[in-house]
C-alpha cells in the first residue's frame, strides 16, 4: 500500500519535473491553490476537499502532464481517504435487506393463505358431493320401499284376477287353490304392506307432515335417535340446517312458506336459520325465541337445548 501511495505523488512530481514545470506553474494552469498541488504531491489528502473534487484535480493534473488519468485515479482509489459525508449506505442497505425479508414473509403468508383457501374450497366441494350422494342414497332407499310393495300388489292382483274367472268356469278343484293363492296374495299384501306402514311411521316420526316438502332437500330418511321433538313452522321461506348432538344432520334445505316440520333427535341441536323472522320454533312443545341470535342479515346460528 505504501508503494502505491508513493506512486501517485511521485509520479506527479516526476512527470512535472520532466515537463519542466514548477508547482506554481501547475497551480496557475489548473487555477488551484498552491497548497492543493502540494497536498496532492505529498498525498496529504486530509487537507483536500471531498474525493469528488480530489479526483477532478487529479484528472486535470494528469491531462496537463499528458498522463492517463485512469491509472492515477486507480492508485488514488486504492488508498484510504475520507469517505464522503453522504455515504450512509450501511443502515440503508440494512433496511433494504429487512424490506426484502418482509417481502419474503409477505409472500410466504400470502401463499399459506392461498393454500388454505384452496383446501377449504376443495373440502367444501367434497362436502356438497357427499351430501348429494347421501340424498341419492336416501332416495334409493325410499323408492323400493314405496314402489315395490305397490307393484307386487298390483302383480298379485293381476295374477289373481284372471285366476278367479278360471276357477269359476273350469274346475272346482282349482277353486281352493285359487282361494289359497288369493289368500296367499292377500297374505303377501299384508306382509308387504307392513314395512310400508313401518316406513311411513318412521317418516311420520321424523318429519313428513305435508306433501309440499317433497321437492325439498330434507334428509327425512336419516334416522336420528333421541327423544327431543322440534317443531318448525315456516311463516316465510327460509333455509334451515339442524344438526343434533350426535352430529347427525336431521334437517337441511329450503322450506316454503306455510310448511310445518317436526323432527326427533337428541338435544342440544345446533341450528342455522336463513330467515330467522320467518320461522317459529318449538322444542318439546315449548316455543323458543331465536331473536337474540339474529344477525343483521336476518340469519342466525344457535344451539337449541331441551327445555
Amino acid at each position: 500500500m505504501s508503494d502505491s501511495q508513493v506512486g501517485l505523488g511521485a509520479r506527479l512530481v516526476e512527470s512535472r519535473e520532466q515537463a519542466g514545470l514548477s508547482q506554481n506553474d501547475v497551480a496557475k494552469a489548473l487555477l488551484l491553490d498552491l497548497s492543493v498541488i502540494k497536498a496532492l504531491e505529498s498525498e496529504t489528502f486530509d487537507e483536500l476537499p471531498e474525493p469528488t473534487y480530489v479526483r477532478g484535480y487529479i484528472r486535470s493534473y494528469a491531462r496537463l502532464l499528458s498522463l492517463t488519468p485512469e491509472d492515477l485515479l486507480e492508485i488514488y482509489d486504492q488508498q484510504d481517504h475520507n469517505e464522503p459525508e453522504w455515504e450512509i449506505n450501511e443502515p440503508a442497505r440494512h433496511e433494504v435487506a429487512q424490506g426484502r425479508q418482509f417481502r419474503h414473509v409477505t409472500l410466504v403468508v400470502a401463499l399459506v393463505i392461498f393454500g388454505l383457501l384452496v383446501t377449504w374450497l376443495l373440502t367444501e366441494g367434497n362436502g356438497h358431493k357427499d351430501e348429494a350422494q347421501e340424498e341419492v342414497l336416501v332416495a334409493s332407499m325410499e323408492e323400493p320401499a314405496d314402489t315395490s310393495p305397490h307393484s307386487e300388489i298390483s302383480s298379485s292382483e293381476e295374477q289373481s284376477e284372471p285366476l278367479v274367472p278360471l276357477s269359476d268356469s273350469e274346475s272346482v278343484d282349482a277353486a281352493p287353490v285359487n282361494e289359497e293363492s288369493v289368500a296367499v296374495a292377500e297374505h303377501s299384501d299384508v306382509a308387504i304392506e307392513e314395512p310400508v306402514t313401518e316406513q311411513e311411521l318412521v317418516e311420520g316420526a321424523l318429519s313428513v307432515a305435508d306433501d309440499e316438502s317433497l321437492g325439498d332437500f330434507s334428509l327425512a330418511g336419516v334416522v336420528a335417535e333421541g327423544q327431543d321433538r322440534v317443531k318448525l313452522t315456516f311463516n316465510n321461506d327460509s333455509w334451515v340446517e339442524i344438526v343434533d348432538s350426535n352430529g347427525v344432520q336431521v334437517l337441511r334445505g329450503l322450506f316454503k312458506k306455510g310448511t310445518v316440520r317436526e323432527l326427533v333427535g337428541s338435544a342440544p341441536f345446533s341450528v342455522f336459520l336463513g330467515n330467522t323472522q320467518g320461522v317459529a320454533i318449538q322444542i318439546n312443545n315449548q316455543s323458543f325465541d331465536p331473536a337474540p341470535f339474529t344477525r343483521r342479515d336476518s340469519t342466525s346460528r344457535f344451539t337449541l337445548k331441551a327445555q
Binding site: 489548473l30 487555477l31 488551484l32 491553490d33 476537499p49 471531498e50 474525493p51 469528488t52 473534487y53 479526483r55 477532478g56 484535480y57 484528472r59 486535470s60 464522503p84 459525508e85 453522504w86 450512509i88 449506505n89 443502515p91 440503508a92 442497505r93 433496511e95 433494504v96 435487506a97 424490506g99 426484502r100 418482509f102 417481502r103 409477505t106
Partner: protein, 348 residues
C-alpha cells in the same frame, strides 16, 4: 394498508426523467435502466384511428426520422419538461414495468423524480400526475441540481458553498448549494439537443447538406469539443445535398464543430457567470476555492471543463459517471428519506 402491502412488492425508484435519456435507480440495486426518452406510436386507419405503442426506449430511438406514415417516433419531453402528457405517462409506465419484470403484481413503487429548477408549478404538476398515472404509489419531486450534487458526492449538508452545473439533454442547470438547500439556481434551456441543432444548422449553412438528428448526435459524440484541442479529429458523414437532392458523403473536423457549438456553449457559460455574480460572497469564495462540479451528459463533451475554467477562472471538476449522477443522487435521497424524514430536503 393495501398500498403498503403492495409497497413490499415494489422497489423504491429514483427517476431522472430527462429530455434525452431516462434513468432509473432502484433502491439497493443501482441504475437499472438507461434508455432514450423516445416513444414510437403506431396509428393505423388514418388520423382518427386507434393509437398503440409500437416501441419505447432504445428501439424507438432507432426509429427516429425513419418512420413510415402510420408510425410516429416522439420525444415526449422537451426542455426538461413534459411536452406530451399521455405519451410521457405511457413511457413511464413501460419503464416502471420493465424494472419490475419479475414481479407478480402490478408494481406501485414510491417514486422520486427530478425536475428542472426552472420548471413552473404547472410543469411540476404534470410530471407528478404522469408518474401517478404510471402507477406510482407516492411521488416526490426533487430539484435536479440538488440530486446531481448528492449523486456526485458533494457534501451539500455542510455550511460550505458548492456549485453544480448539470448539462442535460434539454436544459442546463446551475445551482449553488449549502446546508441542504439551494441558495441560487438558474436554468437555461440549452443542452445536448441544442448542440445537435447547432451542428445540423452549421452543416446546412456551410455545406448545403441536410443531416438528421441521429447523425448530428453521432458527430457531437465523436468529434465534438468545447475548446480548441491539440489534435484535429475528423469524421465522415452522409447527408442529403440540398441543391442536388441526393445523399452525399463529406468530412467534418473538430474545429468546425467547435465553431458550430459556440452559440449554445456561450449560453451555458453566461449562465454560470450570472450564477457567480448572484452568489453571496462567502459561498462564492468556497466555490472559487474548491471548484465547480460538472454533471449530466453534457459534461462528456470534450474539454467543456477547460472552457468554463478559462472563462470563469475557477477550477472545474467533472463528476464520476456524470450521466447517472442525478439518478444516483435521487436514489440516495430516497434512502435518506427513510432515516431522516422528508423534511431535510425541500421536496415538493
Amino acid at each position: 394498508m393495501f398500498n403498503s402491502l403492495l409497497g413490499f412488492l415494489s422497489n423504491d425508484l429514483s427517476i431522472d426523467l430527462g429530455t434525452a435519456n431516462t434513468l432509473i435507480y432502484a433502491r439497493g440495486k443501482g441504475i437499472v435502466l438507461n434508455e432514450p426518452s423516445v416513444v414510437a406510436i403506431r396509428q393505423d386507419r388514418g388520423p382518427g384511428g386507434p393509437k398503440s405503442i409500437e416501441a419505447v426506449g432504445i428501439k424507438a430511438k432507432k426509429m427516429l426520422g425513419r418512420t413510415p406514415e402510420n408510425i410516429q417516433a416522439i420525444r415526449p419531453m422537451k426542455d426538461g419538461v413534459i411536452a406530451d402528457f399521455t405519451t410521457t405517462e405511457k413511457m413511464l409506465q413501460y419503464f416502471i414495468k420493465k424494472v419490475h419484470e419479475n414481479s407478480l403484481f402490478r408494481p406501485s413503487p414510491r417514486v422520486l423524480i427530478c425536475v428542472p429548477c426552472g420548471a413552473t408549478q404547472v410543469e411540476r404538476r404534470a410530471i407528478r400526475e404522469s408518474a401517478n398515472g404510471a402507477g406510482a404509489r407516492k411521488v416526490y419531486l426533487i430539484e435536479e441540481p440538488m440530486a446531481a450534487a448528492i449523486g456526485a458526492g458533494i457534501p451539500v449538508d455542510e455550511a460550505l458553498g458548492s456549485m453544480v452545473l448539470d448539462i442535460g439533454g434539454g436544459t442546463s442547470e446551475v445551482a449553488v448549494m449549502s446546508l441542504n438547500g439551494i441558495v441560487y439556481s438558474a436554468s437555461v434551456r440549452i443542452g445536448g439537443d441544442k448542440f445537435d441543432e447547432a451542428i445540423t444548422s452549421y452543416v446546412r449553412r456551410n455545406y448545403g447538406i441536410l443531416i438528421g438528428e441521429a447523425t448530428a448526435e453521432r458527430i457531437k459524440h465523436e468529434i465534438g469539443s468545447a475548446y480548441p484541442g491539440k489534435e484535429l479529429l475528423e469524421i465522415e458523414v452522409k447527408g442529403r445535398n440540398l441543391s442536388e437532392g441526393v445523399p452525399r458523403s463529406f468530412t467534418l473536423n473538430s474545429n468546425e464543430i467547435l465553431e458550430a457549438l459556440q452559440e449554445p456553449l456561450y449560453g451555458i457559460v453566461s449562465a454560470v457567470k450570472t450564477a457567480l455574480e448572484q452568489t453571496p460572497p462567502e459561498l462564492g469564495s468556497d466555490v472559487a476555492e474548491r471548484g465547480i462540479v460538472l454533471t449530466g451528459g453534457g459534461a462528456l463533451l470534450r474539454d467543456l471543463d477547460r472552457l468554463i475554467m478559462e472563462e470563469t477562472g475557477i477550477p472545474v471538476v467533472i463528476a464520476d459517471d456524470p450521466l447517472t449522477c442525478v439518478a444516483r443522487g435521487g436514489g440516495r435521497v430516497l434512502e435518506m428519506m427513510d432515516e431522516q424524514g422528508t423534511d431535510f430536503l425541500a421536496l415538493d
